[in-house]
């Protein structure tokens, strides 16, 4: 049962056709993990908080720097030097005190990824490099947790929703992690837009309505104002979710 306050607070989304008390209840009961509290992660965790997702865990091991402040909207001038999850959790709790915010000041690695994401309903990609994304992607596949991948560069962004066992995973799309792009240019509005889409995907996944970006990559080009979708193909020999994974396991025996 939702409280009277919940019905008021989330009323404008509860009245969305087909969402209702049931949809809001599913959001309240959900645990969403946001990995990386930068441009994507700040905006994503804010909209998850406003939407009433009951438990949000934010993870990052970096500290706030002046050069972050054009895009990482939960970090303010007074936060420079603080760990990003601490800075962000402080604001999120003030936005919505009726939900649980867990902040973890650590880097997601091959050693801890499975333990961190176990039990989450959705993982949101707020990372800033493909090496780390590949670690997270593999853990999400192993733990069978939906993974909403996104990335940005300048005014361009991409997003797809990976459902373990069903859709192509990140390693199907790129057989090896794409090379570093150096210092990546970013206007704050690009991660803001793409993170909003990530939360839109999370809401639909959790509440169970609409169509998500399963098996499709959505690209946005802000310089020319174009959206374009590409169908993604599962690689049967994928080293993470396909035959290649089983071969790797057997070789290790």
């Amino acid at each position: 049962m939702l409280s009277d306050d919940d019905r008021l607070r989330y009323g404008r989304q509860i009245i969305y056709p087909g969402f209702g008390d049931s949809g809001q209840g599913k959001l309240r009961d959900a645990h969403v993990l946001v990995v990386g509290v930068g441009g994507l992660g700040c905006a994503a965790s804010m909209y998850l908080t406003y939407a009433g997702v009951g438990h949000i865990t934010i993870i990052d091991n970096d500290s706030v720097e002046l050069s972050n402040l054009n895009r990482q909207i939960l970090h303010w001038e007074k936060d420079i030097g603080k760990k990003k999850p601490v800075s962000a959790a402080n604001k999120l709790r003030r936005i919505n005190n009726s939900i649980q915010i867990t902040s973890l000041c650590k880097k997601v690695t091959e050693d801890n990824a499975d333990q961190i994401i176990r039990g989450a309903d959705v993982v949101i990609d707020g990372l800033d490099n493909f090496q780390a994304r590949f670690v997270l992607n593999a853990a999400c596949i192993r733990q069978r947790v939906p993974f909403i991948h996104a990335g940005v560069n300048g005014l361009v962004g991409q997003i797809t929703t990976i459902i373990p066992g069903k859709t192509p995973c990140l390693a199907c799309i790129y057989s090896t992690p794409p090379a570093s792009e150096g210092t990546i240019p970013v206007f704050g509005v690009t991660p803001a837009l793409i993170a909003s889409l990530q939360v839109m995907e999370a809401i639909k996944l959790i509440a169970g309505f609409g169509e998500t970006l399963e098996g499709r990559m959505l690209y946005f080009n802000g310089e020319t104002m174009e959206f374009a979708c590409e169908d993604l193909v599962k690689n049967p020999n994928c080293s993470v979710c396909g035959v290649g994974r089983r071969n790797l396991k057997e070789n290790r025996k």
Binding site: G41, L127, N153, E181, E226, A228, E230
Partner: protein, 86 residues
């Protein structure tokens, strides 16, 4: 050097729906420029300020490559978008 360029689906509308386009060039950069010269609208996604965008992910014969890498006759160059920032 004749090289096969594998075009990602989202760009097919700019290449007359061609999925593979043969171009001449001695480096990956030459090949992408030749592709863009044939299909100028590709610049919308593949270039920034006149140069191949840093988010264009390149594979030559299914191995990760960069724009400066040399190519040989018959090579396959696959281009994809990969925006890595967060």
């Amino acid at each position: 050097m004749s090289v096969k360029m594998l075009i990602p689906q989202l760009l097919h509308k700019y290449t007359d729906n061609q999925e593979v386009v043969e171009v001449d060039g001695t480096t990956v950069n030459d090949c992408i420029n030749a592709l863009r010269n044939r299909y100028p609208e590709l610049e919308r996604w593949l270039y920034r300020n006149g140069k191949v965008a840093t988010y264009v992910h390149i594979g030559v014969n299914q191995k990760k490559a960069s724009v400066d890498d040399r190519v040989a006759d018959g090579d396959e160059v696959k281009i994809m978008l990969a925006t890595g920032g967060g």
